[in-house]
Amino acid sequence: MADLQTEHHEHEPEQHAEDHIVSPAVYAVILGALLIGTAITIAASYLEMGPWNPVVAIAIACAKATLVVLFFMHIKYSSKLMKLTVGAGVFTFLILVGMSLSDYFSRAWGQW
């Protein structure tokens, strides 16, 4: 019955994943990191780095996004299933962008 099902669920580690309450101190640190990241990205845009400018900008944005996902959205403290879910979304996004871009970039390569 219901209790048997609960018993069953208690043995699944995933069920206890989100018991952890993240403390405000962690949030404050992450806020600081995000603000610093923003400052760096603005400053970096004023530096001449040739083709590396967009790379640096995206890299910093990815780092900030990762912090938000891990800590503000609690993924660090969540089950493997949640981590896998986020990964699947990012993966599919990269396929869309990457494979579409591969067509555009290779158009200039000519016939063969």
């Binding site: 019955m1 048997l4 699947a88 396929i95 555009y104 290779s106």
Partner: protein
């Protein structure tokens, strides 16, 4: 065809159980505001049948026009609208929701041992979104139609068409969210609501197929949504994202559109494949051969399905390197589908096969889907595709997999689970006749289209060269037979609701939790949450059990 596994209760004493999900509550509001997945499934069944017949009528008009080489029944502009509406309705309002929203909604909670899907209100919302999308499509149709093809290709759809592109685009946008919510519900339910003992590898393959299709629904459909938004914006305000005169690229539209629409074909077929797994094992009395392979190949189809979309664009102006890569990947994606066909064939080997209606449809599926799939290889191979694309070969290919495949699987599933959903059996003889008529009609309709396509007849043209007429006449004749084959089930299934034999819990002596509860089920599905100890498709155990143990949980 004299042997049957049909196992009905004694008709002189049997009755449909008084308390079930249909009689639990009365009144229109109890249906319109229901959270019960089974009622929502029935609501969907009625709605998609309605749209199927509208789409079918449009198909009839297409075939009528193509009886003669001239564009004499209707002007070309009108013909464009007819095939566009046929495509939009059949793809978005019939095929995509057909098995998942009806059979999936009904069976998945029961199959995993739950009382309902994870989010019943979202399930109901999904149906209402479907109705809104369907209503908007009908409105677009009645007030002038759309003529861009169901593929909304730019710049026709953004600049040159003078028809209801915006309404139809938004209609599909709304219907897309219906699909997303269904898929979301299934993924969460299968992950989180399985009964004690129901491990992943004890799940019926029907669940695996729907899980895979749901991943596609959740990840692919939003890209279609944003693409349609961009088309609408371009058409209304004039942003230049796809407009070459403003620097946009029409091919970008196609990349974004097909990124969804290729996985969409797997959204359409995977649930059907799930049905076939259930039907073949039941009517061969044998465990599906290579259960793990079939389960993983479903997920593999879902994952690989995301990598091949540009095979719809070989001649459109993509780079040669893209053509090469996508063609190679397309060859790979055929493999998991083939694995399933082999596994079903090996399931039949040394099985105790009987030929009830669901099995007839399943056989039809296996043959026709295989032919359709094999012709897909010619299309995936870029060299041959250049000759065959935009001809009737393509039309025949996708009708073989979608109609010969998916629609047959849908009918197979509806017949298979009809006794469970309604408590009544459909009449066997006439339904077998309908299955055979459908099969014959289908082949007469669509096989000539392969030939006429190879000979060079282009698709989406109302007029064609004289030499193609004979094959077109064959095709139209077949279509009229096919129409009969589809009308018959409506008649006898409705008849069976009142006059059909009482089915009992498990008329097919099938495995699976859904056959261990009453027909029709209780609203809460189970009186006690089942504890699953049985392996899936364990026919040896089943045949050794007494009646009561076969048909009751716990």
């Amino acid at each position: 065809m004299s042997s049957t596994i049909l196992n009905l209760p004694d008709q002189s004493t049997a009755t449909v159980p008084k308390r079930n999900y249909l009689t639990n509550e009365n009144g229109l509001m109890s249906w319109l505001l229901t959270g019960d997945h089974k009622r929502i499934a029935i609501l969907y069944l009625i709605s998609i049948t309605f749209f199927f017949f509208i789409g079918g009528a449009l198909a009839g008009l297409i075939r009528l026009e193509l009886l003669t080489p001239q564009s004499d029944l209707m002007a070309s502009d009108t013909y464009n609208k007819i095939f566009t509406m046929h495509g939009v309705i059949m793809v978005f309002l019939f095929l995509v929701p057909s098995v998942p929203a009806t059979l999936g909604n009904f069976m998945i909670p029961i199959m995993v041992g739950a009382k309902d899907l994870a989010f019943p209100k979202i399930n109901l919302l999904s149906w209402y979104l479907y109705l809104v999308g369907g209503g908007m499509t009908l409105a677009a149709m009645i007030t002038g139609g759309v003529d861009t093809g169901w593929t909304f290709t730019t710049p026709m759809s953004t600049h040159f068409s003078n028809t209801n592109v915006v309404t139809t685009g938004l209609a599909v946008f709304v219907a897309g969210f219906s699909s997303i919510f269904t898929g979301l519900n299934f993924i969460v339910t299968i992950h989180r609501m399985r009964a004690p003992g129901m491990t992943w590898f004890k799940l019926p393959l029907f669940c695996w197929s729907h899980y895979a299709a749901s991943i596609l629904m959740v990840l692919g459909t939003p890209v279609l949504a944003i693409t349609l938004v961009l088309v609408v914006l371009e058409r209304t305000i004039g942003i230049g994202v796809f407009d070459p005169t403003k620097g946009g690229d029409p091919i970008l539209f196609q990349h974004l559109f097909w990124f969804y629409s290729h996985p969409a074909v797997y959204i359409m077929i995977l649930p059907g494949m799930g049905v076939i797994s259930e039907v073949i094992s039941t009517f061969a009395r044998k465990r599906v051969f290579g259960y793990t392979a079939v389960a993983f190949s479903s997920v593999a189809i879902a994952v690989f399905g995301f990598f091949v979309w540009a095979h719809h664009m070989f001649i459109m102006g993509v780079s040669n390197y893209a053509v090469l890569v996508f063609s190679l990947l397309t060859m790979l994606v055929a493999v998991p589908s083939a694995i399933k066909i082999f596994n079903w064939a090996f399931t039949l080997y040394k099985g105790s096969i009987t030929f009830e209606t669901p099995m007839l449809y399943a056989f039809g599926f296996m043959g026709l889907f295989t032919i359709g799939g094999l012709t897909g290889v010619f299309l995936g191979s870029a060299g041959t595709d250049i000759h065959l694309t935009e001809t009737y070969f393509i039309v025949a290919h996708f009708h073989f997999v979608m109609v010969g495949g998916m629609l047959m699987a849908f009918l197979s599933g509806v017949h298979f689970w009809w006794p469970k959903m309604t408590g009544r059996m459909y009449p066997e003889k006439i339904s077998q006749l309908a299955a055979v008529v459908t099969f014959i009609g289908f082949n007469f309709t669509f096989f000539p289209q392969f030939l006429v396509g190879m000979l060079g007849m282009p698709r989406r043209y109302a007029a064609y060269p004289q030499e193609f007429q004979v094959l077109n006449v064959f095709s139209t004749a077949g279509a009229s037979i096919l129409g009969v084959g589809y009308l018959l089930p409506i008649i006898y299934l409705l008849w069976s609701l009142k006059y059909g034999a009482i089915a009992g819990n498990n008329p097919w002596r099938a495995t699976g939790l859904e056959w261990q509860i009453q027909s029709p089920p209780l609203t809460e599905n189970f009186t006690t949450i089942p504890i699953v100890t049985q392996d899936v498709y364990d026919y040896e155990w089943l045949d050794a059990q007494k009646e009561h143990e076969v048909t009751h949980v716990g």
